[in-house]
Symmetry: C2
Subunit: 371 residues, 2 copies
Amino acid sequence: MITTRDRAFMARAVQLAWRGRYSTHPNPRVGCVIARGDRILGESWHERAGEAHAEVRALSLAGTAARGSTAYVTLEPCSHFGRTPPCAKALIEAGVARVFAATLDPNPNVSGRGLEMLRAAGIRVHVGLLAGEAAKLNPGFMKRMTSGRPWVRLKMAASLDGRTAMASGESQWITGPESRSDVQRLRAMSDAILTGVGTVLADDPSLTVRREEMGDIGSATEPGRQPLRVIADRDTRTPASAKIFRGGKVQVFCATASLATSAAQDLAALGIRLRGVAWHDKGVNVAEMLDTLGDIGINEVLVEAGPTLAGSFISEDLVDELWLYQAPVFLGSTGRPTANLPLESMADKIQWQVLDRRQLGADQRLILARR
Amino acid sequence: MITTRDRAFMARAVQLAWRGRYSTHPNPRVGCVIARGDRILGESWHERAGEAHAEVRALSLAGTAARGSTAYVTLEPCSHFGRTPPCAKALIEAGVARVFAATLDPNPNVSGRGLEMLRAAGIRVHVGLLAGEAAKLNPGFMKRMTSGRPWVRLKMAASLDGRTAMASGESQWITGPESRSDVQRLRAMSDAILTGVGTVLADDPSLTVRREEMGDIGSATEPGRQPLRVIADRDTRTPASAKIFRGGKVQVFCATASLATSAAQDLAALGIRLRGVAWHDKGVNVAEMLDTLGDIGINEVLVEAGPTLAGSFISEDLVDELWLYQAPVFLGSTGRPTANLPLESMADKIQWQVLDRRQLGADQRLILARR
């Protein structure tokens, strides 16, 4: 039933979907190929929320030739009116004869409905072709729709002796330009960048995407907006003059009691969103913060934080991927640790699975997941 | 003048020389090919000190066919009577017409003499073919002959967050079996293994080569003896019952004042060699210890030590190669550092050049040299 050609067209749809990696949030990355026999009649990808979905763009390229064709979509076509009309309807109206969907819509409220609409219109439907590859496109969208929380990537730039800065806090630059450029691309893939007030006070970072530092992004759609910057700041110590407040939206998580402080009111007056969250003696309630980020539509959050917040994420097992940039240097035994993580015995050690190793100039990037 | 065939035969000689990697110490690893035209008449390598040199073995395989042939040797043939007669003489007597030597003998007292003997006998001589590859065979022999000190390899087994043990000292096992097997091969390549009394007291290691853990060594000559184990032990605190004293020779470096202690006398009574060396407030005088090891014929020393001794080697810039085995785990911020190395500012950071990266099971082995 499923031919090599079907696989090839779906692989092409996955490839197209990746072009939206810097631009579709909060929507998922989706690719679509409309084909008949060996011929591609139209192919496209979703570029930005509010703009046409992949299926509609591909159908319009195919035109009337779409009648009787097969559509390959990386995600189940939507069945509801959102900012655009339902894609399932568009496929039906175009007279498509067959639809391959790599994955179902993960949203439990609508999952399966798009395919039902297609089947009801007499279209032959197949689900699951290259499902694994398609799911990798949208780890955050998939996770948020099923658990309510975003996909968490923790980024660290460290030396071979596991230090991220000198005791003084001095840290620029540990890694080389290739790594820093990669971090820009990682930021651009993210819906939000999360840091702690300690980092803001020490380094005054912008945490924005600097397009010129991203390098060549090939055929990907240009990033269209800055990720939401998020600060965990119990006592609202972030000064209104902080660079992070320039160049896009910021969300501050503080202790509920801090919402009434004059510092909080000063920030609110600048248009900065503040939200109370619980804190315990080890720091912010990370899980609650993630729930809130999920609620406001954050699919993928990048944590770029100091050892305290990084340590909380690791010890509470809330890291989906650790992106570790390792520079071939030693910063010495007095340098700052990658994460405040007090472990007693070898039995407590955190075991990682290496998902990817890549050379970036003199550095190495590891992508790790808990084992 | 030099043909592709000449290069191929010298490459073969280098390859043969590597077969002696676990067995020739304190002699250098040497390979030899005797060829005429396209044909190899005899080829061999030096196996063990006291046994026949590579040239003599290769010549005896070639027999009378060696007359008029070309010899390819990775190191200048010796000109003096040592434990065996001079190889230059053997080449002359066999009637070899041409000799390619990849490198000169690094011993300044005899360097060039072997080739002179050959030339005086009317043999055409060429030096330098694959010199770089041949020099890699014997970094320690080369270094000791020119500087008096052995080649220093510092071995570390660490986590991705730069820890070698828990705060309690617990450390077994950070790395996997493939790494541990590799360490056995590394030990077997070494003339001596150096550690500190702290490691001896904490872990009571044997620091021997366990042949069964080395795995398959291919066509290499079997290791014939244990490397010398060396302990830096200022106050002669190593108990006579320590495992390190079983299974081979041990050298203890202590403070000169400690030579007169009863503990020192107990060790001496067991046949353990003690030697006084200077100590300063940061630890043992590493340079002096290396001078002594060079004097007693140690070409390659492997340092397997705790953070204090490792830190001394690094901060005094006395490490030729750092062999870092990295396991994909975090041991946490309370774990022991790889080296006690107090550095103040980023300008002080130790920069490494990555000579080799290799995957060993789930671990990665890096071979690093100071930049």
